[in-house]
């Protein structure tokens, strides 16, 4: 990042109403930053194309309804996995692997349903044909063409993914230099997994939000894992690693990250790859995506 002289573009839609409060970032980087203002642009579209936004809201509501069933299915499948682990504590145990496969099937079904809803909306709503959306997309393309890199901040990962997808920013980012952190890194990966083991009401059951944009293939990022995941228990590590396989479950902590050739940056223990045997270690080789960096 030190070679950047600016300007750079910023996606901070995950900050929602605070999207444009990017002064601290400007101050820290000392670069000219062009905020793509996706959250604000969507608010503008709500006024300019209410029928399109209504169709989008219907799609999101259907996704939410499917998610209720998905969560119900996760509860029983996860209980099955935990029971198998408690019996043998052996990730090679065929019953454990079978139980994981059952959960993976549930995950696959949900993601396929989400794909179907997104595709239906794209085919019937045709958002990219709407003049108001086209105007925003043209502005985004023009901005990106004048920037050295694109920064993608975290925040509300659902809103971030949703807004980027609505305006086709995921497509516009291909081939560009990307620097993403926290939720921003999550959306660039193949899949977006939600997790929190320390909520007021106990352990939340991890679930997929949706597919990521696949700009960083082969991984599921787990930012702030130390604060959000109980990785001291080998079964938690083993189950997470086995569940996301063949993708890699990779933690991202403050002070470290991964470069475009898969090399670790900063603090050595900030990036850990969860292993199916219940341990975690350094990132294994073979992770190359050509973008700049993903950080927590």
């Amino acid at each position: 990042m030190r070679d950047l002289t600016g300007p750079v573009a910023l996606v901070s839609a995950g900050w929602r109403y605070d999207e444009e409060r990017d002064e601290p970032l400007r101050g820290a980087l000392g670069l000219t930053i062009h905020n793509l203002r996706l959250y604000g642009a969507f608010r503008d579209i709500e006024r300019a194309a209410p029928e399109l936004v209504a169709a989008h809201a219907r799609k999101q509501a259907m996704l939410k309804a499917i998610k209720v069933r998905y969560r119900e299915a996760i509860v029983s499948r996860l209980a099955g996995i935990q029971a198998q682990w408690a019996d043998r504590r052996d990730p090679a145990c065929p019953w454990f692997r079978l139980a994981v496969r059952h959960l993976q099937e549930v995950d696959e079904l949900f993601l396929a349903e989400a794909d179907r809803l997104h595709q239906e909306f794209a085919a019937t709503g045709r958002p990219f044909d709407h003049p108001a959306v086209q105007a925003v997309r043209a502005r985004i393309d023009e901005t990106l063409d004048g920037c050295q890199a694109v920064l993608i901040a975290g925040g509300h990962v659902g809103v971030l993914r949703n807004r980027m997808s609505f305006f086709g920013v995921d497509q516009a980012l291909r081939g560009r230099r990307l620097i993403a952190w926290s939720g921003g890194a999550m959306v660039l990966a193949d899949r977006i997994l939600l997790y929190h083991d320390y909520t007021t009401h106990g352990v939340g059951l991890a679930e997929y939000l949706d597919r990521g944009f696949g700009l960083v293939p082969g991984v599921v990022f787990l930012p702030h894992a130390q604060n959000r995941l109980d990785l001291n228990r080998p079964e938690n590590v083993a189950i997470l690693a086995a569940r996301v396989a063949p993708l890699r479950a990779v933690t991202l902590e403050n002070g470290g990250g991964i470069g475009p050739s898969g090399q670790q940056i900063g603090r050595a223990d900030a990036v850990r790859q969860l292993q199916p045997d219940g341990t975690s270690g350094a990132l294994s080789s073979g992770l190359v995506w050509g973008n700049d960096a993903a950080r927590s």
């Binding site: 995950g14 900050w15 929602r16 109403y17 709500e46 901040a153 975290g154 925040g155 509300h156 990962v157 659902g158 809103v159 926290s182 939720g183 999550m186 939600l194 929190h196 909520t199 007021t200 009401h201 939340g204 939000l209 930012p223 702030h224």
Partner: protein
């Protein structure tokens, strides 16, 4: 306790120096003395003659008036008391002189808990800590407090309420609604504005509108009174729906109350089924009888009637209920007894019992667990 025993030994050795030894002792330590995590020793000495000292507290199950022991021939007194882990005890001293008892705060303990009747001294067990989420946090965005008046048909008079509007409120967006009984007291004694700011800012609780209403003839209005139930739905809710951006489904509407306020909230949910999808009931005064008459006085008659009927034939009420009670309260029996009844009519019941009493700090300390259960925020989705 050991420190008091050492003190007694020192005085016994040099009784002529008792006054100096006591002065040094009170200057050295904080009171009540905590010998270990949860063993408290209360201490009283003001340098003047006293006949006796008593501890007055509000812990159900213990004698409410416990006599201190005198140290030698001095006018210093002490009383050891084991506290449950994490407990908070509110108390006063009664100092008897010339046959006359006078209640007072513990003069050597600055910690106070306030309520509408005044304040008490507070003895937190060593393992109790004030939750950080209810303390002012400059990072948290400040919601806005508004004051409104409107005419209530049910009461035939104007009623005032205060409305909490979350910092993120934006035109065109609608929000869940929570109506709070004894609202002015919850704001004043339970720091509810501060903790709402914190919990919403941290994404633990959904941004919501909170209406703080207070009774005028409070105990009568809140004692399972049908006019109060009608006031809440037909007057206050209708008024809020016409003037504020509130979401219109029951799962986004909550009622909350403590003590008699808890009774009013439950009664309103029973009288108007399908209206309130979330109930937050703290130390509810849910007195009932299995046989015979109750002995709590005529003000409780409608409550006992209501709860007896509710237990006999519990109707489906809110989809989610949060219930809490202190184990030092006489009401713990009633609240525990209602948990299985609530579980018959709701799949989403959470019950918490804690070593605390019938007081605002107890109710404040439960609000994170309660609000995150009833109105969970998007914490799950935030990675920043």
């Amino acid at each position: 306790m050991q420190r008091v025993l050492d003190l007694a030994v020192a005085i016994e050795r040099k009784p002529q120096d008792a006054r100096r030894i006591l002065a040094e002792f009170v200057a050295r330590w904080q009171f009540p003395l905590m010998d270990s995590q949860d063993n408290a020793t209360f201490f009283y000495w003001d340098g003047m003659p006293a006949d006796a000292v008593f501890l007055q507290h509000w812990v159900f199950g213990l004698p409410s008036r416990q006599e201190f022991r005198r140290i030698g021939n001095t006018d210093a007194f002490y009383l050891p008391l084991d506290l449950p882990r994490g407990a908070r005890v509110e108390y006063k001293f009664e100092v008897v002189r010339n046959g006359n008892g006078r209640w007072m705060h513990d003069p050597r303990n600055a910690r106070r808990a306030f309520d509408p009747f005044g304040s008490n001294s507070v003895c937190p067990a060593g393992s109790y800590i004030d939750p950080e989420w209810c303390l002012y946090d400059p990072q948290s965005r400040q919601g806005e407090m508004q004051t409104h008046r409107f005419f209530s048909k049910s009461w035939g008079e104007d009623r005032e309420y205060r409305l909490y509007v979350p910092a993120e409120a934006r035109a065109g967006k609608e929000y869940p609604l929570l109506i709070v009984h004894d609202g002015a007291d919850f704001l004043h004694y339970a720091e509810m504005k501060t903790l709402l700011d914190n919990l919403i800012h941290r994404h633990e609780v959904a941004p919501l509108l909170v209406c703080f209403t207070s009774g005028v003839r409070r105990n009568w209005e809140y004692a399972a009174n049908p006019r109060q139930a009608d006031f809440l739905k037909l007057d206050l809710l209708a008024h809020l729906q016409s003037t504020q951006p509130v979401l219109d489904e029951p799962q986004f509407r909550g009622l909350m109350g403590a003590s008699f306020g808890g009774v009013s909230a439950l009664h309103a949910a029973v009288r108007h089924p399908g209206t309130w999808g979330r109930l937050l009931l703290q130390s509810g005064s849910f007195a009932f009888t299995d046989i015979g008459e109750h002995t709590r006085g005529p003000m409780w008659d409608p409550i006992v009637n209501f709860v007896n009927h509710f237990r006999e034939n519990p109707p489906a009420i809110a989809a989610k209920i949060y219930l809490s009670c202190g184990t030092f309260e006489s009401l713990i029996y009633y609240n525990r007894s209602l948990v299985p009844v609530f579980q018959q009519v709701s799949d989403g019941v959470r019950f918490a019992e804690v070593p605390d009493g019938h007081n605002w700090i107890n109710w404040r300390d439960r609000l994170r667990e309660a609000l995150t259960w009833l109105f969970p925020g998007p914490l799950w989705m935030y990675y920043e």
